[in-house]
Symmetry: C2
């Protein structure tokens, strides 16, 4: 088996799954093909891979004979990759089936299936724990047996465990360590049918956390486009859909925003050619068979369009925005979305550090996005000072616009801070909180703004992604007020003296005790050296700024935009990328960072085979990586070293630490430059 | 001119606009046709009406000659209704044009335009008030002149007034009283282009409030499907789009969730046949002209699909849910959505009282829906009691499920209230609030639940739409907590003694002082007579229940569902409709209600011509209505009377009071039964 990740966003990925019958781009929807009855050519609608049922073939003499003779691809007339299910579904429906696990594995191998499935026990939701545990034991035994029985067949191994997240996690951990090719997450259909999306989140997250990132995960039986975006954002790569035809049989139109019954439709629901060329009345007056086929085509159109939309969102880095839109179409999906909050740490770890698209706030749930969690964590990397002055938000980037506002676009020399309104000092602040004593404090002033949705943002880092690259409504919801208030309360504990603008106090209902403060005695200082040091700390870790930018620092700015572009000592140290305000190192800078950061921080360690390639500036493949800083996120600037921690090169991580460690194929780091 | 409303939701409507060249179903998108250059047959994509520019025709000798000879329909090769713009756009772009208002009106009449436009002054946003006022004067003069100049031409009169809502309102009020056929709202394009959607809301709402409901409104220059749903929900009926072609020229794909540039697309964005049959790379490798035509087709496909989706939502009663989805795609649209809150009273007045679809909560903004505002108002119609016990929410309908829970599905006889958890009494409650003394109180117990999103719901009305027909997530956002808390605080002021379940206190952070309370002394009472009286009060007004259901009341329940179906004295008084829990009267019931409610409450007053038809049970047309209770909402059960307030019939209102008064065509009331 061979699976590679090309793009990532949240926990979602665009991958390439290689099979004996060709490659599949994931996320992929696999239409369910009935081996005896299929009439719709699903390839036409975008299907690259399909799924059919080996047990049905096995049980039908005619189908079985043809499959054994000509192969399953000829049987269902599909020349791309085919997955077969094993009969577990029939087992769950009818309680018993007459084939053994070993028999069905061998049969799948004989008929030339690309990816086969063992006969696991699909334990339904909400059963007693005892039953779930007992059945899980059987599922695990059969997984081992399946590995033993297969020769070259690629194999699914299904995560079971009913609605017990710990059992799902246990199952995922055990089978995840075995040599399977795809990991389906099973027995969620009853939950999906009953809108128990929140429980699906718990199951998928418990499973995905323990599954190896290097294998695709298949959310079994999920075929409604309403849930695709959410499932992909949780790390699912494959879906199967009998729904397109089952819904059509029932005169139901699937849409990413729900299901529409033909009888309730006065207007066709989408822009597909069926909806464009027929009216609901046209369909109502047709014969059932003809109508069903047309509705099935609509269902396929919208399902594959949704898969395309999800892929586009992953590439843009806007997948969670799509999820937030989709999850508002039903209150139970909104519950599922809100339930993601529990897994923010897991999701943040998987989410790329820098993205192409701006962060759009769509409601309180946006406060649970990885970018915001990450900002709160990275704030701890910044230097501490004595005194804080907290300003209301401005047009972004804040410092530039505050500067312009205060100096009347440069026409005045002095910063008249009273222009920013009234300010108040927190009364008895130092007495009320414990200030860390061992901080490397300078007796100086920190200026920051308070804004939705990121909370407190020190002005020095106001151009770093996504602190400048975000939009939120001017009118605030209560959750965002509370979030910013808490962010302020946490941040001010680092300071001896805190002065806050009246606008901030009012906007976020700050319930502290204040006293008057005369702001005119304070001087704002927009210091470029501070800015580059803070930015480096925020990006690489505490102290990185001082380590990188020591010596006779010279800052070069863009003539056009006035933004910092390059930082030199004698040679170039780093370049601040205009699009997202982060530093891209030079070899000189990489060396300084390498000197400063303790092993294994920010390192990708490659074996001796890869060393010469790395030094030549060639990209690093995952299989050569022998150790890595597990805190590395995708899209970060990283150091490439050998086992002795000699710096070989530096580059941009394509995957995160956990993924790079787990993968054996595909690129791990796009090397920028090697040290020959 | 002739405009009729067929369906309503929020302030949106599905209407039929009759023109010399045929009928148009609104909301309608009018593609802009360039009189000299059009190459796409827009009819194929769903266009029923188009717009072109009379000034461009007037200024081009060749076009002018052909238009005067063969008519504008032949000129642009479109046989449906054509709207022409007057050159105002050119005026705003180039500052001056060489045609007078009278000339351009007469020209439009001569070339056979269906709906012409006067030469108004499109004052841009954010100008000085003085300029806006001065230009508005000219616009108003030209409106009068246009009426004078036209013979049979139907006429637009454009609402101007820049970004001054009061000037927009003034303009709308003045021209609204004049005999125009369509009311465009003008000069919003710069706002739309700069994402100032919030200001568009203020302008449209100020205009629509004063415009006659009986005429269609056209949001001029709005051609992006992203804003259609919001604009329709504010009462706009017509859109025009040059955007489909302008965006295509710029390689931009329009979608209801935003704009996608071809250069950034890796996957095609929708399910239309262009997106299904081409890849972004296919398009990138085409010649500009060919590509542009395909993208324009995509743009038309999605624009007309969005119009269909909006119409479907109006029929279902889910338009605001669609708006809430659409407005989450950009934070500035979310600001616009939140800005609707200011206009809740206006919107509630237009919103139908009962709808087909359930109420789905999609976020804090759903708290500003008319249904919730209306519930708070209608709560004032209910009887007051001494003591309140407030329960946590249950599965809906609440009373049935609480009953089942407490009696273990009827297997136990006694209500053991302790099963519902701990209860607390508000300390010194009566002392802390002012109880109304003159209330008709019974010394008895009111039981209610507190739930998101409707707040407090007395159990007697728990099956009335939408109190049973709604879904919200179990996990609460802060806005909904505060909303329910405030709803509780307001409601408890009606009671001398208030007992609240611990679950409610915790869930909604109730910051009151409580004391222990032993709930076992209280007895729940699920009294059907109370239920029907409360329901009637809630539906028809304070006291209506006692008036309707006096005498020897007999309640008949459905054998299957156990729900109340019919209420008799000797004869049938009313039937409780199962789908939405509201009363449909019998003639007997209508007479009782008519006796009780003071004129003009709940009345539609028809002239003597209509009296015999009404008595025969024929539906009431708006033109026969001479007076009406302005508080009537669409879909309410109403009384039909003559000028002497003799009851003639009763039925269901199709429009609201203001609309019925204003319209001269179309049905106003579906009569259920007449009194022969």
């Amino acid at each position: 088996m061979n699976f590679e990740i090309k793009y990532k966003d949240a926990m979602g990925r665009i991958g390439i799954l290689k099979t004996p019958h060709g490659n599949v781009k994931t996320p992929a929807l696999m239409p369910v093909i009935h081996p005896g009855k299929q009439t719709i050519d699903v390839k036409k609608y975008g299907a690259e891979i399909v799924i059919t049922n080996a047990y049905i073939i096995y049980k039908n003499e005619e189908l079985k004979e043809k499959a054994l003779k000509d192969g399953v691809h000829a049987l269902i007339n599909f020349d791309g990759p085919i997955v077969t299910d094993s009969g577990s579904f029939q087992l769950s429906e009818y309680g018993d089936i007459d084939v053994t696990n070993r028999e069905i594995i061998e049969f799948q191998e004989k008929i030339g299936t690309d990816i086969g499935t063992s006969l696991d026990i699909p334990t339904p939701p909400y059963v007693k724990r005892e039953r779930a545990e007992k059945e899980l034991e059987i599922t695990l035994e059969r997984a081992e047996e399946a590995l033993d029985a297969r020769e070259n067949l690629l194999l699914n191994s299904v995560v079971q465990g009913s609605t017990f997240p710990d059992l799902r996690a246990k199952c995922a951990e055990i089978i995840g360590k075995m040599d399977f090719d795809v990991y389906p997450i099973g027995a969620v259909v009853p939950l999906l049918e009953n809108y128990k999306y929140k429980d699906v989140v718990d199951i998928v997250m418990a499973s995905v956390e323990k599954l190896p990132p290097s294998r695709p995960r298949h959310l079994m039986g999920a075929g409604h486009p309403m849930v695709f975006a959410l499932a992909v954002a949780m790390g699912c790569d494959l879906f199967d859909s009998a729904a397109y035809i089952l819904y059509a049989q029932d005169d139901r139109f699937m849409m990413p925003d729900g299901t529409y019954k033909l009888q309730n439709l006065s207007y066709m629901p989408c822009s597909c050619d069926i909806c464009q060329n027929y009216t609901p009345n046209d369909l109502k007056s047709m014969k059932k068979d003809q109508r069903m086929k047309l509705i099935a085509q609509h269902n396929l159109h919208v399902s594959f369009a949704e898969i395309r939309k999800i892929k586009q969102a992953i590439i843009e880095g806007s997948l969670l925005e799509l999820v937030e839109q989709r999850c508002r179409v039903h209150p139970y999906l909104l519950d599922a979305l809100r339930n993601l909050k529990k897994y923010i740490k897991l999701m943040e770890g998987s989410d790329p550090a820098y993205k192409k698209s701006a962060f759009f706030y769509s409601g309180p749930e946006s406060l649970n996005r990885p970018e915001i969690f990450r900002h709160q964590k990275r704030m701890e990397r910044l230097p501490k000072k004595d005194k804080l002055i907290l300003l209301d938000s401005f047009k972004k980037p804040y410092s530039k616009n505050i500067h312009n506002f205060l100096t009347n676009f440069g026409r005045e020399k002095k910063y008249d801070l009273e222009k920013l309104g009234s300010f108040y000092r927190i009364k008895n602040h130092a007495k009320n909180i414990e200030i860390e004593n061992n901080l490397n404090k300078e007796d100086s002033l920190q200026i920051a703004v308070a804004d939705v949705p990121f909370g407190v943002i020190p002005l020095e880092i106001d151009e770093v992604y996504p602190l400048a690259q975000n939009e939120a409504p001017a009118s605030l919801d209560e959750d965002s007020k509370i979030f910013v208030m808490n962010s302020i309360k946490k941040y001010i504990e680092n300071f001896k003296e805190v002065i806050i603008s009246e606008d901030v106090i009012k906007k976020f209902d700050l319930d502290l005790t204040f006293e008057n403060y005369d702001i005119s005695s304070l001087k704002l200082d927009f210091d470029d050296k501070q800015k580059i040091k803070y930015t480096a700390d925020y990006q690489f870790g505490k102290g990185a700024g001082n380590a990188l930018f020591k010596g006779n620092i010279r800052i070069e700015k863009s003539r056009k935009t006035g933004k910092i572009r390059h930082v030199y000592d004698d040679d170039l140290i780093a370049t601040l990328r205009a699009s997202d305000g982060i530093f891209v190192l030079s070899m000189n800078g990489a060396k300084r960072l390498h000197n400063y950061l303790e092993y294994p921080k920010n390192r990708v360690v490659v074996n001796s085979d890869a060393e010469p390639f790395a030094r030549e500036g060639k990209s690093i493949f995952a299989k050569f990586v022998i150790d890595i800083d597990m805190n590395i996120r995708a899209n970060e600037e990283v150091l490439i070293v050998n086992q002795n921690d000699d710096l070989l090169a530096f580059g941009r991580s394509i995957l995160n630490g956990r993924e790079i460690k787990d993968f054996n194929v595909g690129q791990a780091v796009k090397t920028r430059k090697g040290d020959k």
